[in-house]
């Protein structure tokens, strides 16, 4: 007679948003295994219909506080694609900087505040204030530095103010660039300490082959802001075909919509990006990857957190380069744009459909808008990284549970929670597109 295990984690903690894990093992056989999403729906795609395309970024940024810059950038790309506007080189450089700050901020929060407590055997970062005071201080200091840099050119990190369709409403002055560079270079020693700390953490040993999907392009640098959709199974397609890359489908055991491409599931996120574009990492980042033994193709999902660390290094040094090159070339203030929802028709508008595909902290994010000839939104669609990862997480859980049945219920529960957390799921985002199956009792 095999053992029975019933795991029902309600309101999974230390993730963004609300999720439940449900696992049911009967007589040693896995009977049921879901990750359920219980976020209250907010209807973003529905409620921006009828509004100006120039308002889309302001509203969709509010889908998620932690990925606000990511939603901003995907939204702007989709909006500009729809109305046929091409951003300048300077705009793209500042947008890449904004994306770097987003990745740094989000990854640092995940590594230090959400994951480290598991690896150090405590319930949250709060007990770490007593036991690892300098570590917590460093984490908060680094996070604040990122926010301070954002404040200098985007107004703030959560729901950035200056970044709108067409470019930036305020461009950083010389003294701003100097302050930004000081903050970023000042962060290097904390980043080195972060790398040292991470090298001491051990991650669970679990492997499952899957397809990894992310942006790919023909440029030399690590693709984040634009490119085609690529996969480790050899797929490459234009972002306009994102629906063919996601193939949302309904599965009989659950009402949750899943995605797949070449096989039963795929993963997006830091590990996927690393597996796809490892050779394009900067030397500073590649050194760290080599030091912690990360190389393509890594199939242990728990190592997504380690891949995030490598990306932190990538983004920090890339940001320093961007600021230095802006200092060198000088900022062209002629490009500062006037807001006002295009009341003055400075940016011409035409009817069309546009797609934004941007690598945000948790993976590839798509926004798609259809606008009429007045720039009014007719249809909107957002496909969120966490949504794409849910199917892959469930496949991981189905392989993991039978491998750890000799452990106690508590250990199994923790291993599953840690697995879900490794993907850094952002459920407040994904609820906008996921269907929910309510299981178990609800508090």
């Amino acid at each position: 007679m095999g053992r029975n295990v019933k795991v029902n984690v309600e309101y999974l903690t230390r993730v963004e948003g609300h999720g439940n894990i449900v696992v049911n093992v009967k007589d040693g056989t896995l009977d049921e295994c879901h990750l359920d999403i219980v976020e209250a729906p907010r209807f973003f795609e529905g409620m921006i219909r009828g509004r100006s395309i120039f308002e889309a970024q302001h509203i969709t940024s509010r889908i998620c506080g932690i990925c606000a810059c990511g939603h901003t950038l995907a939204s702007l790309q989709a909006a500009e694609d729809a109305i046929g506007f091409t951003p300048s080189k300077q705009t793209n450089a500042l947008r890449k900087l904004l994306l770097n700050m987003e990745i740094l901020d989000s990854h640092l929060l995940h590594i230090y505040i959400l994951v480290a407590p598991d690896l150090l055997g405590v319930k949250s970062f709060v007990p770490l204030i007593a036991s690892h005071n300098q570590v917590v201080r460093r984490a908060l200091r680094m996070k604040k530095t990122v926010n301070d840099v954002c404040a200098l050119f985007a107004g703030r990190h959560i729901h950035p103010i200056t970044s709108i369709v067409g470019g930036f409403t305020r461009l950083p002055r010389e003294k701003d660039l100097e302050a930004m560079l000081g903050l970023l270079e000042g962060m290097v020693s904390d980043m080195n300490a972060t790398v040292e700390l991470a090298a001491t953490l051990t991650f669970p040993d679990f492997h499952r082959e899957t397809e990894y999907i992310g942006l790919v392009n023909d440029e030399e640098s690590y693709p984040m802001l634009y490119g085609d959709i690529g996969s480790t199974d050899g797929v490459r397609m234009n972002k306009k075909d994102y629906k063919k890359a996601t193939n949302e489908f309904v599965v009989p055991h659950s009402s949750a919509k899943h995605t797949k491409l070449s096989r039963s599931s795929y993963a997006v996120g830091a590990l996927a990006r690393l597996n796809l574009n490892f050779d394009k990492l900067r030397k500073e980042a590649k050194e760290i990857a080599n030091a912690i033994g990360l190389k393509p193709i890594t199939t242990n999902p728990y190592l997504n957190t380690a891949a995030q660390l490598v990306e932190c290094v990538e983004c920090l040094y890339d940001s320093i380069d961007i600021v230095k090159s802006l200092q060198k070339s000088g900022v062209n203030y002629e490009e500062e744009i006037v807001v006002g929802l295009n009341e003055q028709n400075r940016i011409p508008v035409k009817a069309g459909i546009g797609v934004g595909a941007v690598e945000v902290p948790r993976g590839l994010l798509y926004h798609c808008y259809e606008v009429d000839d007045k720039g009014k939104i007719i249809n909107a669609d957002c496909i969120i990284p966490t949504n794409q990862n849910v199917n892959n997480i469930e496949h991981d859980m189905r392989k993991l549970v039978p491998e750890i049945l000799d452990k106690t219920d508590e250990e199994i529960t923790l291993a599953l929670e840690m697995l879900v957390r490794a993907y850094d799921p952002c459920i407040s985002c994904s609820a906008h597109f996921l269907d929910v199956k309510f299981v178990g009792k609800r508090s």
Partner: protein, 254 residues
Amino acid sequence: MNNKPKVAFFDFACCEGCQLQVANLGEALIDILEIVDVVEFREVMSEKWNESYDVSIIEGSITTPHAVERIKKIRERSKFLIAYGSCATIGGVNGMKHNFDLEEIRNYVYKDGARYFDTIPTKAVHEVVKVDYFVHGCPIYPPEFLEVLKSALSGLPYSVPDNAVCVECKFNENVCMYEKGLTCAGPVTRAGCNSWCVNNGNICYGCRGLVSNPNENGFAEVLKKYKISAEYIIGKMDMYNSCRLQNEKSKKGA
């Protein structure tokens, strides 16, 4: 257990960005944690608390029948309750769904799965339970949050500034957006954010809500002077203020 005040964070329908503003306080957060015990904060903590709360900080709007019951239970267990961020204080962007038939918008977004998504018209927290303190903004302005938290911990009242954003905007020496030929919600929106958006070259979108007694005649004159229709500006104001605009519409209709 020690005698520090017990503080808890709860999130309802929102983006959780206002909670994250707490994590963005930097090392100052450790100073706060020296004087209070944060007993629940699901986004960053696994700990749970079964006793009463001295201060409950509520983020998000009430948008489901389940949320109505949950917020009532939290209120019963809380000495002071803070509505935190626009979604909680005025309904915020969650109110935009009121421009649509709820059944229609639910089917548009969730299609076959729509039946799994219970939804009711968006309510700010004070429309469901008593609120002791308000921290407005999308996102909240951290210096104001610290003021409110200090007030709540010492049992003192906090008054949200009830003058227009324009007052702070003038102090910051910004050129008026109307002078630039643009529209801006500043003249009727509550101050307290230090005219954050206008300082950065953007307009005010009204995220802190309308002042309690907006100078409608004065604003009408401004709109007339710059030849802007009232419908146009209301169409923009409803991005954050739909809950209040709807309530006023239904009052007038009644």
